[in-house]
Subunit: 438 residues, 2 copies
């Protein structure tokens, strides 16, 4: 069901079919959108052999061609497949995000306004080697009534085709339009869609910084995501040593390639002599390379010198930049200059300093005495994660299903005309909220 051609007309037809499918999904009752996901989980179980054999084809072709970590992400096995099916069932179990009444207000007697959640429409998702992204994003899209056009990495071609076949079988067997989830043949198809804000409502990249930036540069369609995750931890003068060390270790080492891993630790001048040796003693034996400013190297000469590039680096590796700053304002200035608006943390026992940091830092996540690694949709309790956004428009931070939603205003009247509410003898509106705090 992947397009055979990326000619503009073919892309247009495909996107048009997606739009029609999205209209259908928008008014589909909750149990059908849940049903298609339960069926998909079943298809994944039943088609395990087929999917793993398609994946083996991709893996053998990629051996020696892509790097070992990408190969690891590409490779599927029974355990990963089982986790995929479980993930789909978990999305099925989430409350229906559609048709939620977000506001209900009497404008006047017999004139009632409601604001009701609805799908965005058509999503275009571009992902790199990890084929499980196809299943995850399809599940999120269907649950929220959106159609989705998917472009996976070419090295995962066979795996993606087998997974897409499972999704389309689930759609078919539930009586939903197969056009709701379609594959895009190549980059030319993506490029053609990026020029059409009328056909696609949201672009979601799942992959490298380069992928995100290239999509952002190529389109006026909103792109949900983040290019950089340059997260800082500021260890204040009043930081507890043991807590500071444990939090930096977790934020750096628990999963170094995550976007919410810490890249730079800022040390308050008054505490650097106490904290830096403790960090070094804990992290260096665990294989972390530290790169420091001159003040850091004065304190611990074994630390490698940091260059300017280190303050803007997202290592994705067990490397940590360390810098001494004069005070909280110095930390705030450094974060303003080098942060990517993802997640920033302070470690301090002083509540006033913490409050100041939380008030001042402009980032999707601002943390006090907690690891930056908590910045995650599942840990926040969203049940599912569409991605993490560093944009300020629409959704920010870890984005759950609500990032795939818009809303409509429904007004139910009994013949009201605006002219009766205008002019000197205007009838007043009541503007009475019928659901408090909506």
């Amino acid at each position: 069901m992947t397009t055979e051609s990326s000619a503009p007309q073919a892309i247009h037809r495909l996107a048009q079919a997606a739009r029609e499918a999205s209209r259908h999904l928008a008014t589909t009752p909750s149990d059908l959108r849940t049903g298609v996901l339960l069926r998909l989980a079943q298809e994944l179980d039943q088609r395990a052999a087929e999917i793993l054999s398609a994946n083996a084809q991709d893996v053998s072709a990629a051996l020696g061609v892509i790097d070992p970590s990408a190969l690891e992400r590409l490779k599927l096995d029974a355990v990963k497949l089982d986790a995929m099916a479980k993930g789909v069932r978990a999305v099925a179990d989430l409350p229906d995000p559609l048709h939620q009444v977000l506001l209900r207000r009497e404008l006047d007697a017999g004139l009632e306004l409601t604001r009701v959640s609805c799908p965005l429409g058509v999503l275009c998702v571009v992902f790199e080697s990890r084929p499980d992204a196809l299943i995850q994003i399809s599940a999120l899209a269907l649950k929220s009534g959106n159609a989705v056009l998917l472009k996976g990495g070419s090295e995962a071609r066979h795996s993606n085709a087998a997974l897409l076949a499972a999704v389309q079988a689930a759609l078919r067997n539930t009586g939903l339009p197969e056009a709701a989830v379609q594959g895009l043949a190549d980059r030319a198809a993506v490029a053609a869609l990026l020029q059409r804000p009328d056909l696609v409502d949201l672009v979601i990249p799942r992959g490298s910084r380069e992928l995100v930036m290239s999509l952002q540069a190529a389109t006026r369609i909103p792109v949900l995501g983040h290019a950089d995750g340059i997260c800082h931890m500021f260890l204040d003068a009043a930081a507890d040593t043991a807590m500071a060390v444990a939090l930096v270790r977790d934020a750096k080492l628990q999963y170094p390639s995550a976007c919410n891993a810490v890249e730079t630790v800022l040390l308050h001048r008054e505490a650097a002599a106490r904290l830096l040796p403790a960090l070094v003693a804990d992290l260096v034996p665990r294989g972390v390379e530290l790169r420091g400013c001159p003040s850091c190297r004065d304190l611990v000469p074994a630390i490698a010198p940091a260059t300017d590039a280190d303050w803007d680096a997202e290592y994705g590796l067990p490397i940590l930049a360390v810098k001494v700053v004069a005070d909280l304002d110095g930390a705030l200035a450094h974060i303003r200059a080098h942060g990517s608006g993802h997640t920033e943390a302070i470690v301090t026992e002083d509540p006033a300093t913490a409050a100041h940091f939380l008030a001042e830092v402009d980032a999707a996540g601002v943390f006090h005495n907690a690891s930056t690694r908590f910045a995650d949709g599942f840990r926040y309790g969203f049940g599912a994660e569409v991605g993490i956004s560093t944009g300020r428009i629409h959704a920010r931070g870890p984005v759950g299903l609500e990032g795939l939603l818009s809303y409509r205003y429904l007004l139910r009247g009994s013949g009201q005309r605006v002219e009766d509410y205008a002019g000197p003898a205007a009838r007043p509106f009541t503007h009475r909220d019928l659901i408090p705090d909506a």
Copy 2:
């Protein structure tokens, strides 16, 4: 305080100053943001003579150069100025939109997540001849803690300079940075900013369809607004004749140039013979020109023939296109093909048909037995209107102050690390909402 130069460096400095001012505003207490607006209202009162004389300069230069309706919008008088000051006081009186706790959730004992509203940052507002837009948008921006860069029409140059001086005096006298509201000298300055998504967070056009479309085409920065307002009313077979006529009259004539005025009326085939003559009898004596499909002209030969272009026209004038459709599905298909996603209405006494229409139509506003003219932030009870958006991302429909807001996630912990919540012996999250229904 308007820029003298539109050289890229000058624009960059100006936007940088706006960014710094926006950071300042973001943490400014509510009473200062209210205070600056009360002061602005006072400045408008005190500077009335000065502002009106500047405006008189613009008006005399524009006489015979711009069309009469544009001249009307350009012209200020004591009444309009008073209304501007009242509008500013009304925005001052709105509840503080910042620092609102939108979600509060315990992730685990001693680990609490909150989602808190914050400003978007820096807005770029481009408006046409109506100089009161400068005051209205400045008030909305300051109330919500945003900085704003303003470009008005060159025909209102002196008026805008006088109004901007009032805003900057209010900022100065309240101890807030004047860079929070700055003027842009020319289109080149706007063009330079449109290329910098890093400097501007949201573009807001206030003016013609052409202005909106040209800004949308020129930038990757989100643009809040709508190009078209092609609104339909479907008069169902079960429509009450008197109500249908009264609603069409209101939606067409109460303010024909509004974006939420009706442009096309769709008539159910079974009711056309009853409804169309009634519409003609009511509207034609009021100066409305009707343009109809062949079936309409069979019923009332005096109606002018509609061409294909009429189904996509936003007249802004007392002209109404009328078309007979086979049934509800015919109306839905016409709206899908020709609607602009702004506001669509049905008139019917049949609740099932109304429910179907409300469920199916994908538009910012979908109305039953009410005039399309109700699609408006003030009528919806938002207290202020930033604009009306037909986009699905961020804000849709009439947009109040919330359209100028984003949010941050604050996480307050006591040393929690993610590694304790991972792996086989993972500590579970509690995910307990502390504010119900947030």
